[in-house]
């Protein structure tokens, strides 16, 4: 169990680090969703399924969607760095 928790913490922290380090904003949004997903699994491990559900649905799903839509609205959603055409396919 401790190894599972340790892997989970490492994954979550790694994803949180990736949010800061990634140059691509869409990839950073996806990494932020991974952070929420890791936290949600942690809530399941701690026997709080209700909170885990909220975290997974709102943190990983909805906030990622809203952030991605905001990026598209601001014209920052590019699949490749410096690719102006990337947002056309998004």
């Amino acid at each position: 169990m401790i190894w599972f928790a340790a892997t989970l913490v490492a994954l979550t922290l790694g994803a949180a680090l990736a949010v800061m380090l990634l140059r691509n904003l869409l990839a950073a949004v996806a990494a932020a969703s991974v952070v929420s997903l890791g936290v949600a699994v942690m809530f399941v491990v701690l026997q709080a399924p209700d909170v885990a559900m909220t975290e997974a649905v709102v943190g990983a799903g909805l906030s990622g969607l809203i952030l991605a839509l905001a990026l598209r609205r601001l014209g920052l959603a590019r699949l490749e760095i410096g690719d102006a055409q990337g947002e056309r396919d998004a």
């Binding site: 209700d50 909220t54 709102v58 909805l62 969607l65 839509l69 609205r73």
Partner: protein, 227 residues
């Protein structure tokens, strides 16, 4: 120099927090209220999911506050984003369209299940409502050319909010406190049980779903700003 100051500040803050948490005794004082609620809730409220018993039974007023905060936030968001002006009319790719067609009914069933079984299993109006909002947003992503008329979303939202407050006022009419669970409690663990709680959660689910769906529709409405 500035980085050094920031590091020093962060280190000091971390040390302070560690000292404070080190001084706390873990699990002390014992949580008597939680234990009491866990023992009393199945008989008093009749919900198999204790969290729902707390959220809607004992603390219904807090849920109403939560709903009004969400309503205010969604309204402010809609106000800032404005109404839909120009719409992206490029059709989506084949994979997205097929995936949405596959996912839409599944998400609908999952969302409704989570909402309706809120008093039995983990989940409830808020979680299910968000799933429903995502389900109704997906077709817009796949077929942006079909501009949906989202006035009915505000109608559903208003009706659901009125229903929530109406159920609370009905308890007041019966001589109980505002939002006291009414009706027959039924058998613990059955779908039709715990009185008005499933109705309240249905109202919450519809309200949250409609609110977030209209927010997402507004947010996706405009084409991206090309600078």
């Amino acid at each position: 120099m500035r980085n050094l100051a920031t590091l020093l500040f962060l280190g000091g803050l971390g040390f302070l927090l560690l000292v404070i948490t080190g001084g706390l005794v873990f699990g002390d004082p014992p949580m008597l209220i939680g234990r009491g609620i866990q023992q009393a809730a199945p008989d008093q409220v009749g919900a198999a999911n204790i969290v729902t018993a707390v959220v809607l039974g004992y603390r219904g007023l807090d849920t109403l506050g939560e709903l009004s905060i969400l309503f205010a936030a969604a309204t402010a968001g809609g106000l800032v984003l404005g109404s839909t002006r120009s719409r992206n009319t490029r059709p989506a790719g084949f994979i997205l369209r097929t995936g949405v067609d596959l996912l839409f009914p599944l998400l609908l069933v999952a969302g409704l299940y989570v909402v309706i079984h809120g008093h039995l299993t983990p989940g409830g109006g808020f979680q299910g409502g968000v799933i429903l909002a995502a389900a109704f947003f997906l077709p817009l992503l796949a077929r942006p050319q079909d501009v949906p008329d989202h006035t009915w979303l505000s109608v559903i939202e208003g009706l659901a909010g009125t229903a929530f407050i109406g159920i609370g006022l009905a308890a007041l009419y019966q001589g109980e406190a505002f939002l006291t669970p009414m009706l027959d409690k039924g058998v613990l663990g059955e779908l039709v049980s715990s009185g008005t709680l499933p109705l309240l959660y249905l109202a919450v689910g519809l309200k949250v779903g409609a609110e977030l769906a209209s927010l997402l529709v507004r947010l996706s409405g405009d084409d991206e700003v090309t600078s």
